[in-house]
């Protein structure tokens, strides 16, 4: 198969749509999770509130959140993004909070004795600590984003691999459906591998010792 025939294939558009959406939803979810986790470090009350909130949201089944957003916003990209973020943010946020609980408790003393401003704590202490143990959360969050996104496209989308899967299910052709599932799994694996390499390169200065 030549590159030209691959690019002209009817499957390339939904594939690119899904990969783009996955990347956008993943980055947005991760950034918001980091913000929530950082806010949780301000004081024990903030931490307790954020932990309880995330523990509550994580228990909402993804099918329930998709149904909710379909009724709220209709089918389309917005529903997909909101559904995916509802699934991914709590997982990533609780993971990051777990990393922060392993931070040397002596640093709390240092922060208070030297009256280190919170912004400086965030940039010098919390973010570098996060990058040191980032990869486990990164892989888990990305896999979850991809799976949640396919499901959201299946139930509430008008394009993408998940939507294509729904159309193929309607044909009742098992071979075609199997090939499509294989395409989805390969797309997830390949995109995760590329993204993982990019993340390792970006956080190379913070690699674990």
């Amino acid at each position: 198969m030549t590159a030209a025939s691959l690019l002209s294939s009817p499957e390339i558009y939904p594939l690119m749509t899904t990969l783009w959406r996955t990347l956008a939803a993943f980055i947005a979810s991760l950034l918001l999770a980091i913000v929530f986790a950082l806010v949780g470090q301000i004081n024990p009350l903030c931490k307790a509130v954020i932990k309880d909130l995330m523990s509550f949201v994580i228990r909402i089944p993804s099918i329930a959140s998709i149904s909710f957003f379909v009724l709220l916003c209709g089918t389309g990209a917005l529903t997909i993004y909101l559904s995916v973020m509802t699934v991914v943010i709590p997982v990533a946020c609780l993971g990051i909070l777990g990393i922060y609980e392993k931070i040397n408790p002596g640093m709390t003393t240092i922060n208070r004795v030297y009256r280190v401003p919170f912004v400086r704590q965030a940039f010098y202490l919390y973010l570098p600590t996060l990058f040191g143990s980032f990869h486990a959360i990164f892989i888990l969050s990305y896999s979850l984003t991809f799976k949640a996104l396919i499901m959201a496209e299946f139930l509430g989308g008008l394009s993408g691999l998940g939507y294509g899967l729904m159309l193929r299910r309607e044909t009742l052709d098992l071979n075609q459906l199997s090939a499509y599932i294989l395409l989805i799994a390969l797309a997830g694996l390949f995109s995760q591998s590329v993204l993982e390499r990019c993340a390792r390169w970006l956080t190379r200065h913070y690699a674990p010792i």
């Binding site: 002596g106 003393t109 240092i110 208070r112 010792i209």
Partner: protein, 230 residues
């Protein structure tokens, strides 16, 4: 500069400190000796304001406090210089402090986590000095260091403290270390901790006799001391 006036502190029902009274005068090198687990670190936390006394008063008359903790308190993922600028805004002063503790030759971006234990302690000392403290508190800073590194660091510390006229409060369970560094010593008992005795202006010639007295005092109170000091 720092005064404990009949200070008591309890963790729940357990009384840790029982009517502790002593002071750290400006410009002096004070030592606080007590058996392991007697509440020395609790006294430091009362000084820093991290804990509040159950009874009595802690009078703090200092502006800037430098603290070197017993355990490692560095951000291992960031560089040497960033560990200092984390607490001190003056980059030039931070660089001077790195020089002072003998870490000036290392790349400033070298991660703190990649340093040896002795170097980490030096970096913590540099961080404490980089805030130009009125009062420098060191809580068993040399535990886990070998004898050579310990002696070298103590010599550098004394040099700096003399040059900057910094008040110094040294907390340890090691009598020998305290005798090398400090002029005045306060000896604490085991829990519930009380002040057993204070030794002021110890002269070089008297140090052996003072050490003997301290050991005798602690033995009488059945305090557990590190093996090499028995």
């Amino acid at each position: 500069m720092l005064q404990f006036d009949r200070v008591s502190f309890s963790y729940g029902n357990e009384t840790v400190l029982d009517e502790i009274s002593f002071s750290v005068a400006k410009g002096t090198y004070q030592g606080l000796i007590g058996p392991s687990g007697c509440g020395k670190t609790t006294l430091i936390q009362l000084t820093t304001g991290l804990l509040e006394a159950s009874r009595g008063q802690v009078q703090r008359r200092f502006n800037r406090l430098g603290l070197v903790c017993q355990n490692d308190t560095l951000i291992e993922e960031i560089g040497l210089l960033k560990n200092l600028t984390y607490v001190c805004a003056d980059k030039d002063l931070a660089l001077r402090c790195l020089e002072l503790v003998g870490l000036g030759d290392l790349p400033h971006t070298k991660r703190a986590g990649a340093l040896s234990k002795g170097m980490k302690k030096r970096l913590e000392i540099a961080r404490a000095l980089s805030v130009s403290p009125d009062l420098l508190i060191m809580d068993e800073p040399f535990s886990g260091l070998d004898q050579v590194a310990k002696i070298a660091l103590i010599a550098q510390m004394k040099h700096f403290l003399t040059a900057t006229e910094t008040t110094f409060w040294y907390v340890t369970h090691d009598i020998d270390e305290a005798m090398i560094i400090c002029d005045d010593l306060t000896v604490l008992s085991a829990k519930p901790t009380r002040v057993l005795k204070r030794f002021g202006q110890i002269q070089q010639a008297d140090k052996a006799a003072v050490k003997k007295q301290i050991l005798q005092l602690l033995r009488e109170k059945s305090c557990v001391l590190p093996f090499h000091q028995k």
